[in-house]
Amino acid sequence: MKNDRVMRLAPALVMLAVATAVAAMRADPPQRPTPQMSAVTDTRPPGGTGSVTFLVLGDTGTGDRAQFEVAAQAWKSRQVFPYEFAIMLGDNLYGSERPQDYANKFERPFQPLLDAGVQFHASLGNHDDPNQRYYKPFGMGGQRYYTFKKQDVRFFALDSNYMDRDQQAWLERVLRESNDKWKVAYFHHPLYSSGGRHGSEVDLRETIEPLFIKYGMNVVFAGHEHFYERLKPQKGIHYFTAGGSAKLRSGDIRIGPLTAKGYDSEQSYMVVEIDGDVMRFQALSRRGKVVDSGEITRQAKPAGSS
């Protein structure tokens, strides 16, 4: 009896199943498969408790497999190193910037981080429409350049594409007003770089480095160059380039007097902790291997600078 009823209902059930499947396919366009995370990560946990912890990503906005894999590794790192927020060094969206590009080049790759409440704070690269500043998940507060504070660390997100007088005046004002223990700047174009393709942005350096020195900037992160580089401290400031979080310019580093450590054979990202007077950093590859790590002790800055 029960079997007869099932048999009579079978065609209807099959049709219902097919219709549901077709509707689901129409509602959800094909998505990239979630990449499998590497089984390992060399990420080490933070050294302190209650310290400021963050993720550093640069030149991410490709929407390609490499971006997804770096994002997956960054998520894996977070299980060991629970960073609170992420800073983005520009080129957040390459190519077109249609609504689906925001999804494909940001939301989907970083969905686990977004779901976990990791806040992003982006800066603008040369491939970015400045109207990205209105996109809430980029955490820019509607501004091309802005500042925010985490405990005793002040972050300065700059728009290095267009360093006009207004931005310079703003930067000088907020630096002067900051009495924070740490000052960390990030933006797209590196003031110092050993890259063969781009190299140091001398013009920009002449404009903003005097302010960094005058007001005691401690650390600077930049992208644009599609590799990882830690530079030897320049005039007391520590510089990192981390623009290889999706695009890679393999073999582009010209090891020279500026380079403390370079890595250009695979995509990379960083996790950073600021704990009292110490900043600890780890640079990790797309496959989760530590390619550089170390710690920086905050130096006393000139009187009036902090």
Binding site: G95, S96, E97, D129, P137, G142, D166, G199
Partner: protein, 203 residues
Amino acid sequence: MRNLKSAAFVLSCAVLVGGCEREEPAGAAVAGAPGGQPSVNAHGAATLEFQNRIKAYLEIHHQAEGQVPNLKRTDDPQEISDREALLAKAIQTLRAGATIGEVFAPEYQPYFIKIVQDDFAARPAADRKAIINELPKNMEVDVNTVYPTTIALATFPAGLLRKLPNLPPELEYRLVGRSLILRDVKANLIVDILRDVVPTIPS
């Protein structure tokens, strides 16, 4: 806030016009003293004319902004692109028939050319080459058209920016190929073009 920034812009124009002394570029209009008229500073007059044209453009921009929804911070990128497109469309309509040189006043063009060319000439060859290599090439630009979002905006050299007249936040300078363009930031529109400003790299 917008009014405050506009007021600051007008003030900076006045300072710029009153305070600038520059070497006269070759071919610049010279305002002499024909018929016993008091002589005027040619550069100051040209700057004033440029700033007047900027102000006239801003009136159009603000009128267009009044016709479209305000852009606020949003989780929905569709709102951002829709608003950008609506604002661009409104400005295009208000400026229908706009032609090259409407904002880059002819009186001021020689000064722009001189500022850009002097800046490039003063740079080391490698620096000059790096900047020129980064500029978008073979890109058709026209007044009152949308800047293609698929083409990267070349970084504007910070040192050169310091030498050019200041602009209100609604506008920015950009280099495209050999042209200097004025771009409306919120509408992503090309407002005006000054061609053949950027020098070529000697082969």
